[in-house]
């Protein structure tokens, strides 16, 4: 884990929420099975140091 680079995560809520909606739509696609989808999601989250 890297050092914290910003004090707040409350910036530009419109953009942040839009990104969340996009990600939610993507993981709801059903052409790839749920286990593979989750494995890819976790791998990407780890690579991006994302804890959400």
């Amino acid at each position: 884990m890297r050092t914290q680079r910003v004090e707040s995560s409350a910036f530009n809520a419109l953009f942040r929420e839009a990104l969340s909606r996009w990600q939610e739509e993507v993981v709801q696609l059903d052409l790839i099975d749920p286990v593979t989808t989750e494995m890819v999601r976790l791998r990407c989250a780890e690579h991006h140091d994302c804890h959400t």
Binding site: R5, V6, L14, F15, L19, R21, W22
Partner: protein
């Protein structure tokens, strides 16, 4: 020229790519809508010339000719031509250089971006600007990667 570029941004940014994505996504309306939405928000939220500059560098590194051409048309040609020599060029501002440096690290290995690179961008854009820039860069990067992969899978992007 400035007004032409601003007008062109609002009308034509990534138009062919958007059409291609619409065709590929077909009736997946939710994904299609949100993909278009984050694209629009990214270009609304960040200085368009700065983001175009970074988009050009990202497209060059990833080898996406369509998005290289798309980014170039909205930039000062002398800057677009010099972009691969940005570290030693004096036509780029420190702000632009900090964002180009960050963009290159982001594309090559996002998990290895140094604190120094991040803090330099934050000094130029402010904390909120930095967060917004990174989100916009993510949108630009994933859009180019999607274009590259989907073009291979389903054929030419038609641009």
């Amino acid at each position: 020229m400035f007004f032409f570029r601003q007008y062109a941004y609002s009308l034509g940014m990534g138009h062919s790519t958007s059409q291609f994505f619409d065709e590929v996504l077909g009736d997946r309306a939710g994904v299609k809508k949100e993909l278009a939405n984050i694209h629009d928000l990214a270009w609304d939220a960040v200085d368009k010339e700065l983001l175009s500059l970074c988009k050009l560098r990202v497209a060059m590194i990833l080898g996406c000719d369509e998005e290289v051409a798309s980014a170039r048309q909205y930039l000062d040609p002398s800057k677009a031509d010099a972009i691969s020599q940005w570290p030693s060029s004096n036509i780029f501002t420190d702000r632009e250089k900090s964002c180009l440096h960050f963009s290159e690290e982001f594309i090559i290995d996002v998990s290895s971006i140094s604190d120094e690179s991040a803090s330099t961008v934050r000094e130029h854009l402010g904390e909120e600007g930095f967060v917004t820039f990174v989100n916009a860069l993510l949108v630009v990067e994933q859009r180019i990667r999607l274009l590259l992969v989907w073009s291979k899978l389903v054929g030419n992007a038609g641009t």
